[in-house]
Amino acid sequence: MTSVQHSETPPRASPGRRLSTFFFRHPRTRLGVLLALPVAWLVVVYFGSLVVLLVSAFWDTDPFTAEIIRTPTLENFQTIIERPVYRDVAWRTIQMALLVTLADIVLAFPIAYYMARIASPRTRSLLVVAILMPLWASYLVKVIAWRSILSDGGIINWALEPLGLSFDGYSTVGLWLVFTYLWLPFMILPVYAGLERIPESLLEASTDLGARSLTTFTRVIFPLAFPAVVAGSIFTFSLTLGDYIAPGLITSEQFIGTVIYNIRGQALPTAAAFAMVPIVVIVLYLLVARKLRAFESL
């Protein structure tokens, strides 16, 4: 705590002070210095790498050795547009991403609401810890655990057996369960944050005006929490859209991620061309999310 002193001659400023004074007088430079490193990293390193990859979508490959031949061609885009398999795979992946998002919203809301508005502070912090903990459990091990849960000799079928039912776990349904499970914490946390921000007074007003719980939910709570829901959905949607490990372990259906992974070695330009699809989808999704003010609720 510096005491305010009046002296005839101000103390000689150290280089550090002189630097701060300079920055104080030149806020634009200060801004530039602040931004220099992050921008350099994100724009030059990351964005640059992306551009390099996507440019390769215009190259050709040797049909035997798969070496890249740098002559521009639209052949790769032609392939992914003309052959129906790419369309099918893309649509299948997008559907899966949407279904997973829906399931996660449904599963997240009760617990998020409970944590935000009903639980005592102590319970709340315990629950937050309980939600965060599984994020530390390895993604791979969770998928392997689900592999065994879903198998013909696994827990689900073991439980269904006395009822005479059976469940083919190694399917798209099984994969949907796995994805829903994996990304659930990413939906719970933003929704919890969003629900907590809703002032109690609004809910009281709603009840005073005669609304039942369901009406309050649909007319007051959900709309107010919607940006947070969208924020959470960014994670569930994009993580599902691009994953290639879980689909490979659970089902034999192809998804965008698995196709790109399989052909990346010997058909990199086609893989890059196909990679444009999820990129475009996600950029569009992000733009919509931004409009819906989700970025403030991340």
Binding site: W41, V52, L127, V141, W146, P199, G257, I260
Partner: protein
Amino acid sequence: MVESRLTRLLLRGGAVATLAFIYAPLLVIALYAFNQNVTQAWPIENYSTKWFSVAYHNEDARDAFRLSLTAALGATAVALVLGTLASMAVSRYRFFGREVITFAVVLPIALPGIVTGLALQATILDVLGPLGVSFGLATIIIGHATFCVVVVYNNVIARMRRTTGSLDEASADLGADSWQTFRYVMFPQLRTALLAGGLLAFALSFDEVVVTIFTAGAQQTLPIWIFATLARPAQLPIVNVVALFVIVVSIIPVYIAARLAGGAGLTSDRPAKGAVAVEVEAQP
């Protein structure tokens, strides 16, 4: 309490169900860590703790664990620096391209991991390689830090939105230089947000496999080691032991962080209930 008793009951039931859903597979992992058999059949026939000692003596697993820790620490450090810098810039200044920064920060985590991985691998091979940077710890950290920035950024920017710049100005008026202002005024306000962001970034990096497969070269982080062990059926139980170990060990930092943050915010910043009534009503 505004909610009716029935609603509260239902919500509590829903919460319990979701928690059960979240923890059931983790219990399965824990059970299989004690499974004597190599294959993961159900129900488990024989229990044994032998795999714990096998895992402990497995050098590859230990090396991978160490590499993952180091990489996560490095990535978290980089993410903390970059995320704080960027959020300080975005929250305190109005400049052209401000919204683009937020977009650019979110992009690495939003884009499919395989795209990020392929892009970074190509860059490492063609650009960084000739410059002398080869696959290794550095490239792993580069890959992780790139999408860890966003979690730090979100936490810090949310916190900074809650504070005004007037405190910093007051500090400067009182004669503090930039470093002192940061150390005595800004940092204490940001501390818990940084902790929360850092913790999340660490978890993200420690468990990352999708991008790391492309940026690690011949190195093995723990997730890569697990992935490789999938190919060796005789060693599959070790994976469960290692996973259980990580889960149990991670209780400590997460719990500490929750206590330190005082329950006030572990993801984004959440003020006390009702305190933002003004903000909400001001929204269109």
